[in-house]
Amino acid sequence: MRAVYEELYFAPYRSQIRREYLRERDLLFLSGCSDLLGVPNPVAFYSLELYPEMLEHWHDWHRRMGMPRAPDGGFRCC
């Protein structure tokens, strides 16, 4: 019973947080991998450490967008 009430309280909060989190990740992806869209990124070489996260994000993103496999032109995650 307690779990149901907890869930009622958390559900809207949770989806809001999730939306905000994904939105910010997309923005980070855009600024960190802008070269994928043809926009030069002068600090690409100085932000290579971000790349593993970007790769995971790319994977999440294409699945979220309804593409089971990675579209061409990006990273080859699957």
């Binding site: 958390f10 910010e24 990740r25 923005l27 100085y46 932000s47 290579l48 450490e49 971000l50 995650c77």
Partner: protein, 340 residues
């Protein structure tokens, strides 16, 4: 303080004007005064080792007591940089992604701009060593365009880095919030304070800012324009001065190299001297706000430590702002260093 005593000196100018000769000469003179001096060549077409008659690598080599020299090879730097990044993130990459991450880094290594970026990274690391490992660093730079880019990069890069770092930090906070609520109020993990990715980016950005602050501080750094007493060279120098002004990079001195001295005999020497003296007069007028020095034309090639030391002694003399350049005769100057 003498203009050439600044801890960071960048010798630059058109190709073939004698940047290397004067930079090495100055470094030798500085070292013989007991200052721990590092001579760094950033010109991809190195000639520092040839001038010294030795072999240099990408790690500082001891030349004399208190003098070390290094030639930065952009290809080696890019390899080293990529290797460092790979090592730094090795623990954070999930095993299934390792192959793809390595592939991407190898592509990044080959991308245009990678070598320049790696060269710049090393350049800022050397600048950080002033005051600790070394007292002074003398940079023997590539022809002007390349060097100006190197000197003006930090201001452009750090702003981009800042944007990226702030965004990444925000994502980190949101990610922790999300992980805390997704399992219905049972906190998954506490605040993560140790974020190696963010730490690496922050370190780099902080270093770029330090480099920028050092380069623009006239107490700590100065550009030394080497110019031949010829009209074309003067025009280029004036343009270079304007560019450096725009980027707030201080100029330590203008050195006219290969000036035919008053003692030289013969008709050829007399004619050259007459021509040069017109240009030198123009330099005196147009670049009056800088310290101006002359180094005379030597009889032969200046090569090897002893010959270079003589040049260093000449270029380190006490010509000050406002002095007439043509009146500064190399032969009669008080010598600032030990002359062999």
């Amino acid at each position: 303080m003498l203009a050439l005593d600044r801890p960071l000196l960048f010798f630059g100018g058109k190709g073939g004007v004698g940047k290397t000769t004067l930079a090495v000469g100055r470094a030798l003179q500085s070292a013989s005064g007991g200052h721990r001096t590092l001579l760094v060549s950033t010109d991809p077409a190195h000639s520092t080792a040839d001038a010294l008659g030795t072999v240099l690598g990408s790690a500082p080599t001891a030349i004399e007591p208190s003098l070390w020299a290094v030639e930065i090879d952009p290809g080696d730097e890019a390899d080293r940089y990529i290797a460092e990044v790979k090592e730094r993130i090795a623990d954070t990459v999930p095993p299934r992604l390792v192959a793809e991450v390595e592939r991407h880094f190898d592509i990044a290594r080959l991308s245009p701009g990678a070598e320049e970026a790696a060269l710049f990274d090393r350049f800022t690391k050397f600048m950080d060593q002033v005051g600790t490992t070394y007292d002074r660093i003398v940079f023997d730079t590539a022809p002007l365009g390349h060097t100006l880019r190197l000197l003006t990069l930090p201001e452009q890069l750090q702003a981009w880095m800042r944007g990226l770092i702030e965004r990444r930090r925000k994502v980190g906070v949101l990610q922790r919030m999300w992980e805390n609520v997704r399992s219905s109020g049972h906190p998954v993990k506490a605040e993560v304070s140790d974020d190696p990715v963010l730490a690496a980016l922050e370190e780099r950005r902080a270093r770029f800012i330090r480099a920028r602050n050092a380069i623009t501080d006239p107490e700590r750094a100065g550009f030394v324009f080497v110019v031949l007493p010829e009209w074309l060279a003067l025009a280029e120098t004036e343009r270079g001065v304007a560019t450096l002004d725009r980027h707030d990079i201080p100029i330590a001195a203008v050195i006219a190299n290969r000036v035919v001295s008053a003692g030289a005999e013969g008709q050829f020497a007399a004619e050259r001297r007459a021509e040069q003296s017109e240009v030198l007069q123009a330099i005196d007028q147009r670049l009056a706000r800088f310290v101006r020095l002359c180094v005379r034309q030597f009889d032969g090639d200046v090569r090897g430590v002893d010959a270079l030391r003589r040049v260093g002694a000449a270029s380190g003399t006490q010509a000050r702002r406002g002095e007439q350049m043509r009146s500064v005769d190399w032969e009669s100057l008080p010598i600032g260093g030990r002359v062999m």
